[in-house]
C-alpha cells in the first residue's frame, strides 16, 4: 500500500525561471525507509516541502501534477491538516524550536491540534523516551547541544504521531557521532513503530545501510531509484555529486582489479569488513 504517490510533478518557485522539480514521479510504500540524495540544489528540499503542502501553499509558485499523501490530495488540504499525517524535520534545529523548555516544544504541535492535557502529557513523555531525551525535558533549547536539539525536533513531530516522518538533512549541522545517533533513533522509529521514513542525506557512508529504496536526484529529476546495492556500484553515479560510501568504492576498485570479495555490494565499512574477514578465513582454511 502506498502512502505517497507523486505523478509528473513540475514545480517552479515564484520568480524563478527554471522549475526546481522537473517531472518527478515517485511511489513510496507504507513502512519504507527511503533515502533521497543528490547534489545541492537538485530539488530534494523542494520535494520534501510538497509532502505536507508547504509547497505550494506556503511558497506559492506554479505546480502541476498530482501529489497524494496519506490518501489526501495535498492541493485540497492545508499544511496544518497535513501535519497530522506528515512530520517534517528541517536542517537547522535551532530554528525549529520556539518554546523555552524542551517539553513545551514537544507539546507545541499537540497544543495546536487542541489535544487534551492528559493525552498530551502521555504522548510527550512517550516521544521524549523514544528519542532518549526524557532527562532534558525541563532544559531550555539554548542550553543543549545541536544533536540534542535535533532529537527534540524529532520528538516534536513524533508526538503528533504522523504516519510519515520526513527529515531534510537533519544532521548537516551536527558532528558525525551525533549524526550517527540521530540516524539510529530514526531507524529505530522505522523498525519498531512502523513509521514511514523519508530521509534526505548526503552522508551515504552512514545511512545507505538502513535503506533498500534509494532515490538519487539531479537537476530536479530523479535519475536513479531502487536498491542502493545496485545503484551505488553503477559507474554513472559518480558523475553526479553523490557521496558514495568509501567501502563501496573500495569494493568496486578491488572488483575491477579482479578481487571479487562478495556477491553483494557492501554499503558500510562494517559490512565490508565482515565480507573481507569471511574471504580471509576461507583462504586460510
Amino acid at each position: 500500500m502506498s502512502v505517497i504517490k507523486i505523478n509528473d510533478l513540475v514545480y517552479t518557485y515564484p520568480g524563478a525561471s527554471k522549475p526546481s522539480i522537473d517531472g518527478v514521479s515517485l511511489t513510496i510504500e507504507k513502512g519504507e525507509f527511503v533515502l533521497i540524495t543528490g547534489p545541492s540544489g537538485c530539488g530534494k528540499t523542494s520535494l520534501c516541502r510538497t509532502f505536507n503542502g508547504l509547497v505550494p501553499h506556503f511558497y506559492k509558485g506554479d505546480l502541476s501534477g498530482q501529489i497524494i499523501v496519506a490518501d489526501q490530495d495535498i492541493m485540497g488540504e492545508q499544511t496544518f491538516d497535513m501535519a497530522k499525517h506528515v512530520g517534517l524535520v528541517f536542517q537547522n534545529p535551532e530554528n525549529q524550536l520556539f518554546a523555552l523548555s524542551v517539553e513545551k516544544d514537544v507539546a507545541f504541535g499537540l497544543e495546536n491540534l487542541g489535544i487534551s492535557r492528559e493525552e498530551m502529557r502521555k504522548r510527550v513523555d512517550w516521544a521524549l523516551n523514544l528519542t532518549g531525551i526524557y532527562d532534558l525535558r525541563e532544559r531550555s533549547p539554548h542550553e543543549i547541544s545541536g544533536g540534542q536539539q535535533q532529537r527534540v525536533t524529532i520528538a516534536a513531530v513524533l508526538a503528533m504521531q504522523p504516519k510519515i516522518i520526513v527529515l531534510d538533512e537533519p544532521t548537516s549541522f551536527l558532528d558525525p557521532l551525533s549524526a550517527e545517533r540521530i540516524f539510529e533513533v530514526i531507524y529505530k522509529l522505522n523498525q519498531e513503530q512502523g513509521i514511514t521514513v523519508i530521509l534526505v542525506e548526503h552522508r551515504l557512508d552512514l545511512t545507505a545501510k538502513y535503506t533498500n529504496h534509494l532515490v538519487v536526484m539531479d537537476k530536479g529529476k530523479i535519475c536513479f531509484e531502487g536498491n542502493p546495492r545496485n545503484i551505488l556500484c553503477n559507474d554513472e553515479i559518480s558523475q553526479i555529486g553523490v557521496g558514495i560510501p568509501k567501502a563501496t568504492l573500495l569494493y568496486k576498485k578491488l572488483k575491477a582489479d579482479g578481487f571479487d570479495i562478495s556477491e553483494q555490494t557492501p554499503l558500510s565499512s562494517d559490512e565490508f569488513a565482515n565480507q573481507l574477514l569471511k574471504v580471509l578465513a576461507n583462504d586460510y582454511s
Binding site: 499544511t79 501535519a83 525549529q96 520556539f98 495546536n112
Partner: protein, 262 residues
C-alpha cells in the same frame, strides 16, 4: 555578549519562584499603588522593608543588589532635582522638611524599582508566557513574547559571530568620532537583520509543519494552579492594600515626619 547576559534567566527554585506569576504581578501592582499613595518617608521605608523578606526567600540578594545599584544613579538624579526645585521656589532656602520630601520621592522610586526587580528576578519568561496565555490574551502575543525571549541568546551569538567576521576583514569598530562609530556598526547590522529575516522564514515553515493554526482553541501542556503560597500572597496583598488605603484616608495627617524630631 555581556549586555545580553542580564536578559538570560537562570533557572532556580524557591518558594517565591514557584508562586503564580499572575498573583505576583497583582502584588507588585499593589505595592506600586501603595507607594504612590504616600509621599512621606516613613511609610515608604516600611514598604521598602516589606520587600526584603521576598528577596531573601528567593535567594536573589546578589542580583537584586545589582539592580539596586543600577538604579542608584537615577535615584540620585531624582533627589537632586527635588532638592533643587525646592531650593529654587523657596527663595534660595532649604528646610529639613524639604530634604525629607526629596528623600521621600527618591524612596518612592526605589520601592517601585525594588518590587519590579523582585518580580522579574523570580519569574521565568516561561512562567510569564504561560501567565500571558492563561489570562485570556490572544495566543499570538504570548507566543511572540516567548519566542523573542528564546531568540535573544541566539541572535546575540550571531551578532558576535558577524562582529568577529567583519573585524577579521579589517573593520575597526572603535575608530573615529561618535558619528563614525555609529556608522561602523552598519556592516554588522545589515547581515544581522538579513539573517534574522531568513531565520524567521524558517521558523514560520517549522510552525506550519507543526499544525500552527489548526484549531481555534489551543490547549496547553501546563495549567497554572494556585497553591498554598499563592493564597498566602493573596492574603498579604489584600491586607497591604486595605491597610495603606485606610491609613491614607483616615490617618494620613497623623503620619509623623522625621524632620519634626529635629
Amino acid at each position: 555578549m555581556s549586555v545580553f547576559d542580564g536578559l538570560k534567566f537562570r533557572k532556580s527554585f524557591s518558594p517565591i519562584h514557584n508562586l503564580d506569576p499572575r498573583i505576583k504581578f497583582v502584588y507588585v501592582i499593589a505595592v506600586f499603588i501603595s507607594a504612590l499613595l504616600f509621599s512621606q518617608i516613613l511609610p515608604l521605608i516600611i514598604l521598602f522593608l516589606i520587600q526584603l523578606p521576598f528577596v531573601f526567600l528567593a535567594r536573589v540578594q546578589k542580583q537584586w543588589f545589582r539592580s539596586l545599584r543600577g538604579a542608584a544613579f537615577l535615584a540620585g538624579f531624582i533627589f537632586a532635582i527635588n532638592i533643587f526645585t525646592n531650593f529654587f521656589f523657596n527663595n534660595w532656602s532649604l528646610t529639613a522638611f524639604d530634604v525629607e520630601n526629596a528623600l521621600g520621592m527618591t524612596m518612592r522610586f526605589v520601592v517601585l524599582i525594588v518590587s519590579f526587580s523582585v518580580f522579574f528576578l523570580t519569574t521565568s519568561p516561561d512562567h510569564l508566557g504561560l501567565a500571558l496565555e492563561q489570562s485570556h490574551m490572544p495566543y499570538e502575543f504570548a507566543f511572540a513574547f516567548t519566542t523573542a525571549v528564546r531568540f535573544v541568546p541566539v541572535l546575540a551569538e550571531e551578532a558576535q559571530t558577524i562582529m568577529d567576521a567583519q573585524k577579521a576583514r579589517g573593520l575597526e569598530l572603535e575608530k573615529g568620532n561618535i558619528l563614525k562609530r555609529i556608522r561602523n556598526y552598519i556592516p554588522i547590522l545589515i547581515p544581522l537583520i538579513v539573517s534574522a529575516i531568513r531565520r524567521s522564514l524558517e521558523l514560520a515553515e517549522a510552525m506550519e509543519s507543526r499544525a500552527w493554526g489548526a484549531v481555534k482553541k489551543r490547549t496547553n501542556l501546563y495549567l497554572l494552579k494556585l497553591h498554598k503560597g499563592d493564597y498566602v500572597l493573596i492574603g498579604i496583598t489584600t491586607f497591604l492594600l486595605i491597610t495603606t488605603i485606610y491609613v491614607r484616608l483616615f490617618l494620613f495627617t497623623y503620619i509623623p515626619l522625621v524632620s519634626n524630631f529635629f
